[in-house]
Each structure stands twice: as C-alpha cells, then as structure tokens.
Symmetry: C2
C-alpha cells in the first residue's frame, strides 16, 4: 500500500487529521524530568537529557496511540543531544511503529543525489536506523534531489512532504519570488513527482508542507496544482493557526490535510499530572480537527 | 576573530584553498575496513561500520593535518549509521579540532526559528555535540530562518555557507526562477546577513555555496552581489570541475574561494597502501588549488 493510502487509512481509523509534533523543548519539560539533568554539562548533560526525552516520548506515545494517525518528531531537537539524542529518536520511532502510529520525520533535508540517497537510508529505509514512514524535504536544489527518495516511496510505501509554502515571517522572499511564484513552481514539481503513486487511491505519496497562515486564495491555487497531494499543515495552536485556517486545503472528499501541533499539545498549561494534561490537550486537538 | 578571518588565516597558513570532504562512502572503503562489518545487519552493521568510519577519518585527518585549511563532513553519511554514526561524527569533529583543521559541517539545514536554534546548538555551538566551525544552510525558508545562527557567528566566531547556487541537473528550476533569478535574491540576503561580520577584515562569516559548474557570467554577478563572502565551491574532481572553474569566484586579492573535493581525494584509484594514496591525492589537490 502506498503512503497516500496508508495515511488515509490512519486518518479514517482514528477519525482525525491531527498529527502530534514531538519537539522535545527541554525547558518546557515537567519538573520531575528536568531534575534528571540538573547540574550536568557536556556529554553527561546530553546523555541524561536524551534519557528524559525518551521517557517523555514514551509517556506521550502510549497515551495517544490509537487516537491520532501520526506523530512528527523534529530532528533538530534530537540532534542537539548528539549521538544520545539520535538513539532516543531511534527508540521513539520504534515505539511509535509498535503502537501503530505513523512517523513523519521532520528533517527538511535537501541535497544532491548520492547524499539524498544516504538521507533516505538514514531516515526512511526499513533497514535504516529510523525507518520513518515519511519525511519532509526541501525543493530548493530541484526535483533531481527529491527523486532519490522515490525508490523507497515505490518499494516500501514511504512518503514525502516537500516544503512548498511556509508562513514564517521571511518565507515570501524566495517562495513568492517570480511570476508564477516559486512556491507554485515547487507545487507543480510535487504534482509531477507524486503522480505515479496517486494512481490507486487518488492520494499521492508525495505531499506538500503548506503553512496554516497561507492565504485562502493561495491555498486554493496550490490545491488545484496538487490535487492528489496530502498537505502537511504546521502552525496550529502555539503558532496561531485555527481549525478553519488549517482545513482550507482539504479536498472535497474531506481528505488531504494533516494538521500538526507541537508545543500547544505537548506542553499545555497544567496543574497536577502533566501526562494527563497532555492526554487532554491531544484529545481536544484531535476533536478540533476531526475528519 | 570572526569566521571570515579565521578561514583566511587557515588558507594563508596552509597555502591552499582545498577543503577535503569527509563523505564516508562505505562501498569505496579499503578492503581491510570493509571486512569489519562483513555479514552484519541492522544495529550490529551500523555499529561496526561507524567504528570503521571513525578509523577511516582518523587515518585521513592525521595525514592531512597542516596541509589543508578545512574539512567538510557530509552529515547524511553519518546519519545513515544512526546513533553510532553520530558518535563517529562527534569524534571526527573533535579530532579535526585537535589537529587545527577547520570543520565545515555540510548539513544543508533550513527550518523556522526555534528549530534553527536547535540545529545551531547541535552543529555549531561550542558546548554542543559537534562544535563545528561552520555549516551549510538552505535559504528557501527566508532570512529569518538563518538569523538564529547569527548569535554564534558573533559570539563564537562561527560561519555559515548559504546554498545560493548549486549545479546539479535540476538546480535551475527554483534557483534560476524569476527576474532577477532567485539565486541572486538569495545572494543579496547573504550579503545583508554577512555585512556586520565583514567589518574587520572585509571577509564575512556568512558565505555562499556556489557550484563549480556555475557559468562565468553568473559567478561574476554573484561575486559582485557578495563582495565579502567566502564561496564554498563543490564539484571539483569526481563531479567534473577543474581548477579554473572553481577559481572563477576568487576576489582580486586571491581570497574568497574554498574548493571542496571528496570522492576523488578520499578514494583515489590505488595500488598498495590506501592511506598513502589518499595522502598523495590530497597533496595533489592542495597544490592544484594553491592560494
């Protein structure tokens, strides 16, 4: 089964378009975990913090299994803990897989052919260390730097989300450059690369990142250019996006959008048990973006 | 001392613009190292291969110390070995630092603010796991996603190379899009971001990746737009670039270009001692792109 269909199955099974971002901001961790690295520095700090990250993710994943289709670990937050952070990330991906939650590795990689092959092996391949179900990639170096991932799309049912349109303050500089805008050029490339995988279900394995603050007109144009693509929509919650903003890119069948939230659901303002608070915040998020 | 000046000092001290890419292609390793992971799979394979990578890099680094200003590990080749690969990368960066060789981490990261901060900590910061001297970043998400690295540029003498113009087959799709071309828009952003660090020596800490196959006219225009920037030029050797192609972006003072070669110097056709062959290949490369 291709990734487009696997994600459809997961969204329909859980009844929600919610994707929980696993961005372990250490400074927002529950106090009981913070104590574990108190006073440590260097490698000792990173080892202790990585163990805390692993524990944090285990607590979160076991509580949200069956309730959301996917999680999205942001690789930067693991890499800042070095080798120990990567080990925690490997363990997190393994646990999510065991719990039946799809893993979208937020890596935003973009590099030439032989390097892209190495990233595909690092992040997606079933015999690699992470074996994620999908990953984010950058289009800046062109379609030939995305093609090296396609064998895993075809043979292992893996997926991609190409950075088409983000909505951070400086995003327009290059993404809105030219006529048509560069983001639209990237969108057409996403469509071209994803077409072979869209045949069976009409949902392709090559999706697009489209930020929640993208204007309604622009989202409409991007949807027309990428009729088969899943949109991964960051920006819900802490970044200000509301349900209606995030859902603008949905297709007429109600599918095609996966909404990501991280800080607002991982670190809700809480009194009492922090894990129960995460569980409530995720449940509320999942209801808000129900299918 | 800022990175622009640190790189100038290293280039002048070694008398060459050569940067050795540390891309450990396992299938090209000497037979004595390949034997170490023979028959292994999964984590056992990755652990054994990472140990071989560490050994390989140690052999290379100790032979080239003092002869080239910088090395450029490509992160993908370490990440495909998971946590063990990251440990080998940490060890490689530490050894290069001890040997007085600058480390340019070829990471090509590009992400929004809090994530960029985490990548800065992961890759550049002196109290992080790699503590590289410089790294490559993507401009696709805009200047505000490069700004989070600037505190380390200012406070720790770190450097950046922004992906302005690559010369892989599909690179023109976005980089040549629009009028002016998007690559030139990115170049102006590099200039803007680097200007504060260019004050002392006239060489900025924010450089640009400009592929060896970029046309002479385009290189000239990019140099005009980025008069203070170091150009990191990939594509020498195995990728077909020759000395004259790589040197097109040099400033009138002869500085401003760092030429990267990886496969052609790490894995030269060799009979006899593979390490002596690497040493000869690096020496020949260093002479070819002598200052």
């Amino acid at each position: 089964m291709g990734f487009g269909e696997r994600l459809k199955e997961a969204v329909e099974r859980t009844g929600t378009c919610a994707c929980v971002g696993l961005d372990p901001h250490l400074d927002k961790f529950p106090e009981e975990l913070k104590a574990s690295w108190h006073g440590l520095e260097g490698t000792a700090f990173r080892n202790a913090a990585a163990a805390a990250v692993q524990r944090f993710n285990r607590e979160v994943l076991t509580r949200i299994a069956g309730k959301v289709p996917a999680v999205k670990p942001q690789l930067a937050f693991y890499e800042e803990l070095g080798a120990a952070g990567w080990a925690a990330l490997e363990e997190t991906c393994r646990l999510a897989r065991d719990l039946g939650i799809l893993v979208v590795a937020d890596a935003k990689r973009g590099d030439i052919q032989s390097t892209a092959q190495a990233y595909a092996q690092a992040i997606l391949s079933d015999d690699g260390p992470l074996a994620a179900d999908a990953m984010t990639v950058s289009p800046w170096l062109g379609g030939d730097t995305i093609e090296p991932y396609l064998p895993l799309v075809q043979r292992q049912g893996k997926g991609l989300f190409v950075l088409v349109r983000t909505t951070n303050p400086g995003s327009a500089l290059l993404q809105h450059h030219g006529q048509p805008r560069a983001a639209n050029v990237a969108a057409r490339e996403v469509h071209r690369l994803g077409l072979p995988s869209a045949e069976a279900s009409g949902l392709s394995a090559v999706g697009a990142v489209v930020g929640a603050q993208t204007s309604p007109d622009e989202v409409r144009a991007l949807r027309e250019e990428m009729p088969h693509a899943w949109f991964l929509v960051p920006g819900y919650g802490a970044q200000g996006g509301r349900r209606d903003d995030c859902f603008r890119g949905r297709r007429t069948d109600g599918l095609g959008v996966l909404v990501a939230a991280s800080r607002s659901v991982l670190f809700p303002p809480a009194e009492g048990d922090p894990w129960a608070a995460v569980e409530r915040a995720v449940a509320s998020f999942a209801r808000d973006v129900a299918l």
